[in-house]
């Protein structure tokens, strides 16, 4: 058995922040990001999959012409650096095998519906019988207890109840989410943090414990402004779309502007906030023969949008700026904006993010070979850099059951069942 794991001694230097810890991650899309982050941090993360594979292997986008069990690009993006074993937790034998494996682990990450693991005989207390100092990180939609405990969840439903949905979107249409699911990423990051904190605590006290994350609470935090505005003034914050409405006159200015090949983001600030960008933009427009007399005459630190009538702001600033942006590409505006200290930014789609020079210059992207893919996979690199590379994307996602032999054989177990 892996007695060495129980010793809280020196970690292998240079490998990773969490090197030497073994994490078991149970099936489900909700747990993917937590496990991925722990793997980036250097933990040995073992994905425990049912015989047909984790259902998240079937979630799109799917790569065409690739073995269906490996084709999910969500899967490929969220499982880097992990190992995979197959254990059927629906059977008694599978559960016994899992308990053997749990006895060698430091952390279990899971997102089963509340009470489900207990019903299977794999609840935290049962696991602690085989591994008393175990840390368990549970990701829930709404908490493991309370009125929403048994509610069915989805990304959009969590957005709704968290308050975030209500404040996103154009005012004349229903509230709207980000089309790429986000809830489990926020909750997953928190679960990874909780696991690392519990390991730190265990190292200092010898005591393992359970941490429960609520995706509802995690997303409420993103909706920060909604609850505090009610607390401050008893006012309900409403969605404003891609525009900013400024009291007291309610003058509205765009935040997202069309440009020649897409969109750019530019906040027209008044006062000190716009004291650098606004004069610089005025000069830039003038230099290129598109100057606005109104803007040239403006004493920008004294410009107060909320005290200027809508028509004046539209004719004097918004329309000339919109015409200037519309005649230039995202890259032209971004590159020259950086040079001139004008805060105009690209609204990047996926191709734009991949093209960002700053990310290339920092060597951010990683390219990973995967046996099911002919091409290399390009993925975001580590979310934090250290000279010692203690956070690192450590390899492609595992194929289904790839590590059965490596993980289960030393325990005298046979996998694949």
């Amino acid at each position: 058995m892996r007695q060495d794991r129980r010793v809280e001694g020196a970690a292998p230097v240079g490998a990773g922040f969490l090197s030497g810890y073994r994490v078991l991650e149970l099936a489900g899309q909700e747990s993917l990001f937590a496990g991925k982050l722990l793997a980036d941090m250097g933990a040995e993360v073992i994905k425990v999959e049912p015989p047909g594979g984790d259902p998240a292997r079937l979630m799109g986008p799917m790569a065409p012409g690739v073995d269906p069990a490996e084709a999910s690009l969500l899967w490929q993006a969220m499982n880097t650096g992990k190992k995979s074993v197959i254990l059927d937790l629906e059977t008694y034998k599978g559960r016994d095998l899992f308990l053997e494996l749990a006895a060698t682990a430091d952390v279990v990450v899971e997102a089963y519906p509340p009470g489900c693991l207990e019903d299977m005989g794999l609840g935290y207390e049962e696991l602690c019988r085989v591994r008393p100092e175990l840390v368990m990180a549970s990701i829930t939609a709404f908490g493991e207890d309370g009125p929403y405990r048994d509610f069915m969840a989805s990304d959009l439903v969590i957005w709704a109840l968290s308050g975030l949905l209500y404040i996103c979107g154009d005012p004349d249409r229903p509230p709207v989410r980000i089309s790429l699911p986000q809830s489990w990423l926020h909750a997953g990051a928190d679960a990874a943090t909780g696991a690392a904190m519990a390991l730190f605590h265990r190292g200092r006290t010898g005591q393992g414990q359970r941490v429960v994350v609520s995706a509802l609470k995690a997303l409420e935090r993103v909706a920060y402004a909604s609850q505090i505005l009610w607390g401050a003034r008893g006012r309900v914050l409403r969605r404003q779309g891609s525009a900013l409405r400024i009291p007291p006159m309610g003058t509205t200015t765009p935040l997202i502007w069309p440009c020649a090949d897409g969109f750019v983001a530019f906040y027209l600030f008044g006062g000190q906030m716009g004291a650098v960008s606004n004069p610089a933009l005025t000069k830039w427009m003038d230099d290129e023969g598109m100057g606005s007399e109104y803007m040239k005459a403006m004493d920008w630190p004294k410009f107060s949008i909320g005290h200027t009538p809508q028509q004046e702001v539209d004719q004097g600033v918004v329309e000339p700026v919109a015409a200037f942006f519309a005649a230039r590409t995202q890259r032209e505006l971004w590159d020259e904006g950086v040079r001139r200290r004008v805060m105009v930014y690209p609204v990047n789609d996926a191709s734009g993010v991949l093209a960002e020079a700053q990310l290339k210059e920092r060597g951010f992207w990683v390219r990973l070979a995967h046996p099911a893919f002919e091409q290399e996979l390009t993925l975001p690199g580590p979310f934090v850099k250290t000279e010692e590379s203690l956070c690192l994307v450590r390899g492609a996602a595992p194929t289904l059951g790839q590590h059965n032999q490596e993980i289960l054989a030393p325990l005298g177990l046979e996998g694949g069942r």
Partner: protein, 405 residues
């Protein structure tokens, strides 16, 4: 019951932060027991001390609810870092700390003589995390910025909105609320690493590099296949119906998502099995996706006359994912958030009663205590006379020299 020890008890963090990302990272650590000391100054106050909403609309550096919400559970020392004694005291703070966090653009700390190279001399096993927009290296390292543009650059804004319109983006500075999660993960992992190896570390935390993790599948897809993901309103390519529907009342909405065929049966049953919903084509996902537009209209007709809570309860009882779109007023009364005591009411000397939010995680054996946010420089004297070991006379002399402005 034995007394619970907070996980980060005994860990001291010094924050040179402003706006949201830096302050929220340490605020969370404070909730889990770290002693957080925020270094700030009246000569150039943290920008969100001047940002709305203010309690009762009263503009004051100690009255911003926005500042309060991101700065719970920490102390504030006012230090004028341009004064050499101010810098000296900052170095002494760091010498007595475990973790330093800064969220200024690259180079600012070094300019003050407080860069990692300077700090590690007074604290050899220091953990320092620098969280700026674009990272400590590269052409953009000293570009200022904030969360709204970062949300656009990292690809999130583009994917929020309707396919027939320009993107609207999520509300406000979205990335400001994902980056601190990863910053805290990095800090606690570094603390455990130091516990095991004795080594400190410098962490270059580029907010852009944290943020693009949240669109990773779309990036991989583009790099591999050339397909550019598009915003899709509230639709989902693998579920239908999947949307946000109007309810009775002004601007009231409920989200309903049918993730499988069984949930479709539940929705049909809840609606009273109307004839149009019994079309056998609709029993399978492909059929529902093909008629998604029509389904959305039909469901909106059904929800339109009903209370949002009524629709949610009815559907959830049939195991169909549904949720009310809570507004700012609803959140304080949401049954689950109330049950969890998610908001803690604290008395603030200037703001009065304020509800502070907790972190999303709860530990079984370690507490989370959310304490009220500090006034600017509230703990200057306490920290100077205590931790920094100044005598009262010297403290007063320095105060007169403007060191604590």
């Amino acid at each position: 019951m034995e007394k619970q020890t907070a996980i980060l008890e005994g860990v001291r963090m010094v924050e040179f932060g402003w706006a949201v990302v830096g302050p929220l990272t340490t605020s969370w650590a404070g909730g889990f027991g770290a002693e957080v000391i925020k270094v700030e100054t009246r000569t150039r106050p943290d920008i969100i001390r001047s940002m709305t909403p203010f309690k009762d609309d009263k503009v004051d550096l100690d009255n911003s609810l926005f500042f309060g919400r991101e700065n719970a559970s920490k102390k504030s020392i006012a230090l004028n870092l341009k004064h050499h004694r101010g810098k000296e005291l900052a170095l002494k703070l760091v010498a007595n700390a475990d973790v330093v966090l800064d969220s200024y653009t690259a180079g600012v700390m070094a300019k003050w003589g407080l860069g990692y190279e300077d700090l590690v001399k007074v604290k050899p096993d220091l953990i320092m995390l620098s969280s700026c927009m674009y990272g400590q290296t590269g052409a953009l390292r000293s570009m200022p910025g904030y969360g709204v543009p970062l949300t656009a650059i990292s690809g999130l804004t583009y994917h929020c909105g309707w396919p027939d319109r320009k993107p609207c983006g999520p509300y406000g500075s979205y990335t400001d609320y994902l980056v601190p999660r990863l910053n805290l993960l990095a800090i606690v992992s570094a603390l455990d690493h130091r516990r095991r190896t004795g080594q400190g570390v410098y962490l270059d935390a580029a907010q852009l590099e944290a943020s693009v993790q949240f669109v990773a599948p779309a990036l991989l897809n583009y790099a591999l296949t050339g397909q550019v993901a598009q915003r899709a309103g509230n639709r989902d390519p693998e579920a239908a119906p999947h949307g946000v529907y109007p309810c009775a009342g002004k601007d009231r909405w409920v989200a309903i998502t049918v993730m499988d065929d069984r949930q479709w049966k539940g929705l049909v049953h809840a609606m009273g099995s109307p004839g149009w919903a019994l079309d056998p084509e609709l029993e399978r996902l492909e059929g529902r996706l093909a008629q998604a537009e029509e389904l959305d209209q039909r469901i909106a007709q059904w929800t339109g006359t009903r209370q949002d809570h009524e629709v949610m309860e009815l559907l959830q009882a049939l195991q169909v994912p549904a949720g009310v779109a809570n507004d700012g007023r609803d959140l304080g009364q949401d049954p689950q958030l109330v049950y969890d005591q998610y908001f803690s009411r604290r008395e603030h000397p200037v703001m009065g009663s304020v509800d502070y939010a907790a972190h999303s995680m709860e530990f079984s054996a370690s507490p989370q205590n959310v304490e009220r946010s500090p006034c600017l420089g509230e703990h200057t004297e306490e920290i100077c006379l205590g931790l920094l070991g100044l005598g009262r006379e010297e403290y007063q002399r320095l105060d007169e020299q403007g060191v604590f402005k």
